[in-house]
């Protein structure tokens, strides 16, 4: 007779709610036949809000730090990251509702798949074991492959295929790294690895191979150079509403898990992985910014910009102290808000499913729709990191923590890359305001995504002027206990 393990499901409540709503929508949708898109959207949002409430409750969790066989971390970093991810999911649902509803190809599966992707992401930020990390990565990736393909455009299917093949590749790297970590430490628990590795002297080839392979696996997901090849194609090919969701969601989830892996598991090897992260960060910032200059499509440009931003975030990760982690989480909030706003504006301005996202379509947008042009300007300025937007505070935070850790050359590279970045963001703004319109494209106004955009714009400005609203919370969350 096997003794029953003690199971404490409470710290897993947000994931249970999100996945439960997803399954309920699937079953309910099959029973009803053709459910209304609006009802599906409302149920999805209700599920996300319930999960957010559950995870807010966990902020004051005073039970054991790890539950369910030490597989789930019940700390505040998980709470904060979950909140960001649930917000990103709500944006994704609102955008998707607008995007798919008027295309005639609306699929009810969109909402369950989105929720399942969100559950994978939130699970990823709460995992305390590399096996759970892997499973969560797979859940979110599988759901995203399909969300990317969820449009009738040929480019969408191609993007999905590309993402799937390279993603499968990166999963193999991750698994190999996981096996190596098990070989080196005899455990796959995130803190167990650190305990096994600390106090050892001499070279540790297995552990080094593990951290390298895991970095490759994560590098694919967050698209740092040289594992970035899929990013522009997938961002461009995917339906814009899905691009917004995946751009923000994957970065938040994967970077939070990477914080745990680097700052806890391989903390004893900090001096060994730092040069690798340094090189990845520098290459991403430089190449992402330089390649973006040559683009003539706004979605592609934002794809390259996301590569550069992955580099900026890695810059903050190189400082392994609490302030560095807080800076990284703040950057993740800032990037999510900004990129959700940017892609949302692009979605409305590019004629929805027609996806006219080349620069030509944005020529003279200010004349046709001053509102959208103004919003896009704000988000692009935030991506460039120009005050008083949130992008500036975020960049200052990560560069500051890199300098404090003694990596000022990396921060210098980051500043230079930001200057290059400012050039191509400003070029788009010039395009919108100073040139004559060429394409006759009527930008659409819509209530729901409009409200979401207003929220994103408000957050971009408010957090840019008053970052102290959320900074204390993030600092409290940045304490990793193990």
């Amino acid at each position: 007779m096997i003794p029953a393990p003690h199971l404490d499901f409470l710290p897993l409540l947000p994931e249970l709610i999100v996945a439960g709503v997803a399954v309920a929508l699937l079953v309910g949708g099959a029973l009803v036949g053709r459910p209304s898109q609006t009802v599906l959207l409302l149920l999805t949002l209700a599920g996300l809000i319930a999960a957010a409430a559950a995870s807010a409750y966990l902020w004051n969790w005073d039970g054991p730090g790890r539950v369910l066989g030490e597989m789930i971390q019940a700390d505040r970093l998980a709470v904060v990251s979950r909140m960001i991810l649930l917000g990103v999911g709500a944006f994704g649902a609102l955008y998707g509702h607008h995007y798919f509803a008027r295309t005639g190809v609306a699929r009810m599966e969109f909402y369950p798949l989105l929720l399942l992707a969100v559950s994978g992401m939130t699970l990823l930020v709460a995992s305390a074991d590399l096996i759970v990390v892997f499973l969560a990565l797979e859940i979110l990736s599988l759901a995203l492959y399909i969300l990317v393909a969820l449009s009738f455009r040929m480019a969408s299917a191609e993007a999905s295929m590309k993402y799937f093949l390279l993603g499968a590749f990166s999963s193999a790297f991750f698994l190999y790294g996981l096996a190596m970590a098990y070989g080196a430490a005899g455990t796959t628990k995130i803190d167990g690895i650190a305990l096994a590795l600390s106090g050892r002297t001499g070279s540790q080839p297995l552990a080094l191979a593990a951290v390298g392979l895991l970095l490759i696996g994560f590098g694919f997901k967050v698209s740092v150079v040289p594992f970035h090849m899929w990013t522009p194609d997938v961002y461009q090919g995917a339906p814009t509403s899905v691009t917004a969701f995946m751009a923000a969601g994957t970065k938040v989830a994967a970077f939070t898990a990477l914080i745990r892996v680097l700052d806890v598991s391989f903390q004893p090897l900090t001096w060994d992985w730092r040069p690798a992260v340094w090189a990845l960060a520098a290459a991403s910032m430089v190449l992402g910014s330089l390649l973006a200059i040559a683009q003539t499509d706004l979605k592609r440009l934002l794809g390259y910009s996301s590569i550069a931003h992955a580099g900026f975030i890695l810059t903050g990760l190189i400082a392994t102290d609490g302030a560095g982690i807080a800076a990284v989480t703040f950057y993740l909030v800032a990037y999510s808000v900004t990129v959700l706003g940017a892609f949302g504006t692009v979605m409305l301005a590019s004629g929805g499913i027609r996806e006219r996202t080349s620069f030509d379509s944005f020529r003279g947008l200010a004349g046709r729709s001053p509102m959208l042009a103004g919003l896009l300007t704000l988000f692009l300025l935030s991506l460039a990191g120009i005050p008083p937007t949130v992008g500036f505070i975020a960049k200052a935070g990560v560069f500051g923590s890199a300098i404090r850790a003694g990596f000022w050359p990396l921060a210098l590279i980051g500043v230079l890359a930001s200057v290059v970045g400012a050039f191509f963001y400003l070029r788009v703004i010039v395009l919108m305001y100073m040139e004559e319109p060429q394409a006759e494209l009527e930008p659409e106004g819509a209530a729901l995504p409009g409200a979401a955009l207003a929220l994103a714009a408000g957050l971009t400005l408010v957090l840019g002027v008053f970052p102290q609203i959320i900074l204390p919370v993030l600092e409290k969350a940045a304490i990793l206990r193990w």
Binding site: G104, E109, L113, A143
Partner: protein, 194 residues
């Protein structure tokens, strides 16, 4: 002694069926040789004291997965002409080189690590006290209970994904998409496929 006999019966069988699988031109024969290979490998698991893996290997691999393979082959058409010209010319030498390389690597790694054994390693018996399947069940349903359950969500995603890609309900499509001529008549196509 008995173990040696069993090994020397099934080891050549495993190698031969593996090679035969590669050399077959007909995909169905290839798949059937792979079944033989799976059975031979299952016997090795049994010899090494991994009864659970033995059963899973036969039920899941030789049973479910191979049936799926055969199903796909049949679905695509057994008598389909395969283009046997390789589009990438340096692929074959590179493949041979990498194949030989990884074989050497595995040999070296096994030799340096545990060595070749006809029996299970010593600690294994300790773990297996009270039965191999029971030992796995104990770990799976206590320590690894959560990953085991999460896998079910992964499977739900995979099932939904397959359905979304393969099955296009008529009701879900109320008209051809405004742009993107990739699938001009999704309705009719779904009808034909169904």
């Amino acid at each position: 002694m008995a173990e040696l006999i069993v090994f020397w019966v099934f080891a050549p069988l495993a190698v031969a069926s593996g090679i035969a699988m590669l050399l077959q031109r007909n995909a169905v024969y290839s798949a059937l040789f792979l079944v033989v290979n799976f059975f031979a490998l299952a016997v090795f698991f049994l010899m090494l004291g991994a009864e659970f893996l033995f059963a899973v290997q036969i039920i899941v691999y030789a049973g479910a997965i191979m049936v799926l393979f055969l199903f796909v082959i049949m679905l695509l058409g057994v008598d389909r002409e395969e283009r046997l010209v390789e589009p990438i010319r340096w692929q074959r030498p590179l493949g041979i080189f990498l194949g030989v390389g990884i074989t050497a690597e595995i040999f070296a790694a096994v030799r340096a690590g545990v060595g070749f054994a006809a029996k299970a390693p010593g600690g294994f018996a300790l773990v297996n006290q009270g039965g191999n399947a029971q030992a796995i069940a104990k770990v799976l349903f206590t320590d690894y209970f959560l990953p085991f359950e999460i896998t079910s969500i992964l499977l739900i995603v995979a099932a939904v994904a397959a359905m979304v890609l393969a099955h296009r309900r008529r009701g879900a499509v109320s008209g051809p998409p405004p742009a993107g001529p990739a699938r001009p008549q999704p309705d009719r196509e779904a009808e034909v496929a169904g």
